[in-house]
Symmetry: C2
């Protein structure tokens, strides 16, 4: 089930190149994004929300101008397979989500999506055939309105140098940057003894040995 001029085979080639392989989730996502886009009035500048970090954001990035890096796509990792496109200014938009009972109607899609059998027992070929055949009929559409606080342009505000890591960070985050506040994914214990060359600059702010990231 296609809408408009969505070419699923061409999309699958894009998915393979960008995402690394033709993942079922991205293909389902392609139909969803295309469906959501078909509801947006022409000429409206829109932003996107993906309610999962898995697969779906890549369908958005391939089929719309919205990317993570340009800030027009945001991921709210609710673990729900749903995508919303909405008017940047007013916040009115359309949310496309997967309907559980429609998923269940398709044996192999149901087995994959609800993990009803182990991956090695799933039939990848049948799964993809069912996805391409079902397309947007797996979905439903809701008109939504984005809350005001999510519409405001996010500015980093004033930039300063963090007194701990000596890197630039947004002052609004506090006296030290968020990473130095304890959110770092790096293992300090391994490198805390390691000497990282001091900067040559004579500015005392920078003439330190960097031991933390």
């Amino acid at each position: 089930m296609n809408r408009g001029n969505f070419n699923i085979e061409r999309f699958c080639r894009q998915v393979e190149e960008f995402h690394g392989h033709v993942a079922p989730g991205v293909v389902v996502g392609g139909f969803m994004v295309n469906l959501a886009r078909s509801y947006m009035p022409a000429g409206v500048l829109f932003d996107a929300i993906s309610e999962t970090a898995s697969c779906l954001p890549d369908a958005v990035q391939l089929l719309t101008p919205c990317t993570i890096g340009n800030g027009w796509l945001r991921v709210f990792d609710f673990g729900r397979y749903a995508v919303t496109l909405y008017d940047k200014e007013g916040g009115r938009g359309f949310r496309v989500f997967l309907v559980p009972e429609r998923i269940h109607e398709q044996s192999e899609i149901g087995a994959w999506f609800f993990k009803l059998k182990p991956k090695n027992e799933q039939n990848a070929e049948l799964l993809m055939a069912q996805i391409k055949s079902a397309g947007e009929t797996l979905c439903a559409v809701q008109p939504v309105h984005i809350r005001q606080e999510f519409l405001q342009k996010r500015s980093k505000g004033k930039i300063a140098v963090c007194p701990v890591c000596h890197e630039a960070y947004p002052v609004k985050d506090g006296w030290v940057c968020k990473a130095c506040h304890g959110e770092s994914p790096y293992d300090f214990s391994i490198y805390s003894e390691r000497e990282i060359p001091a900067f040559e600059d004579s500015d005392p702010r920078y003439a330190v040995r960097r031991v933390r990231v």
Copy 2:
């Protein structure tokens, strides 16, 4: 300053197509990602961390196999302009970050990065010329080790249907999905009176009017 066979002009064309315009941040990010990649041993499968959501993730997505949707790129939004590539298995990798005093040495890069003058007084052409000329000399590299808990494969685990929104969600999130737990970006007040057609399915789990997202 280029490393290896990084073609900055070709990269800028990719940036324009994917990101929407040749943003200075993505161009700087291109040099950073290329530098980090040059430190990774050949054949090592790597994941990526971007320490900001602005611009840099798109450089990662354009220059490596890591995307948001395939899970090989993760954004920790610390507001630090730094990128790490690391061995998926062992967690050893290289972190490339911008060095504040090297940024300041380049008048227009400094003015842009530290917001020293209003955007309309910045010289976009000079900025881009300085970025292309300085390239990776703006950066420094650190060996890092990713903490064990960030290396574990993230599985959604068992999938069930949320009793509030009637959509699929990971059971590990609790009795209801995260969005129904109050994290939704949607404005309930506007649509709470709006009738969304009930599903046709006679299964009482689904035969409800959907009023919440």
